[in-house]
Symmetry: C2
Subunit: 119 residues, 2 copies
């Protein structure tokens, strides 16, 4: 018996971001909240957020009714990495354009794949 896939995951890796923006939890949480609202995804708890000390980056994790979103920043590399996993179908989302605009990324790679069962 083949179990149907349980949702999709998007894996987004952004390079060339403005380092200062990658150290601002408030700015990053606004971006996350805005994406989730656009996609009509529903947090079931406040985000778990950690600002690493010194020149370090930020981790944010959001537990959703539909699975999760995670974000990590590496200011020393100008890099931001994001995962969005949704167990319900979502329309295409302009990750690249949003992240270029909000974080100044010069390159954004977006991969996606099914979860829950492989062929």
């Amino acid at each position: 018996m083949t179990v149907p896939p349980l949702g999709m995951e998007w894996v987004v890796d952004a390079q060339g971001c403005a380092p200062s923006r990658l150290r601002e939890p408030e700015r990053l949480l606004e971006l996350v909240s805005s994406m989730l609202a656009d996609l009509r995804l529903s947090p079931v708890a406040p985000p778990l957020v950690h600002r690493f000390p010194g020149e370090g980056g930020v981790t944010a994790m959001v537990l959703l009714a539909e699975s999760h979103l995670t974000l990590h920043t590496f200011p020393e590399h100008g890099t931001m990495t994001l995962n969005l996993y949704s167990c319900v179908a979502r329309p295409p989302y302009p990750f690249r354009e949003r992240i270029e605009r909000e974080l100044g990324a010069t390159r954004v790679d977006v991969r996606s794949f099914a979860r829950g069962a492989l062929p």
Copy 2:
């Protein structure tokens, strides 16, 4: 300039699990804690855990010094999905064997890929 990859992610999808075990947050958190200890990965905050109502499953998210671990269960499908993202190198880990033994999975697919920069 090519930015070096910022760690690895393992994407694990398990099918055929015992549904009752997928509704027990304590058992699932023990499995997660044990994996993290084996891999010498360090939580920086208590896990974020949600038990969905009725016959629903469990979501657990752990914010690590080295990135994150997430886990979702879908008892109605006998499925568990796990992500482990580590920005430091880790040795190979026997996800399949652990998950077969602890959750009774009959099939475990493990994928892995670099994060932070694509070729």
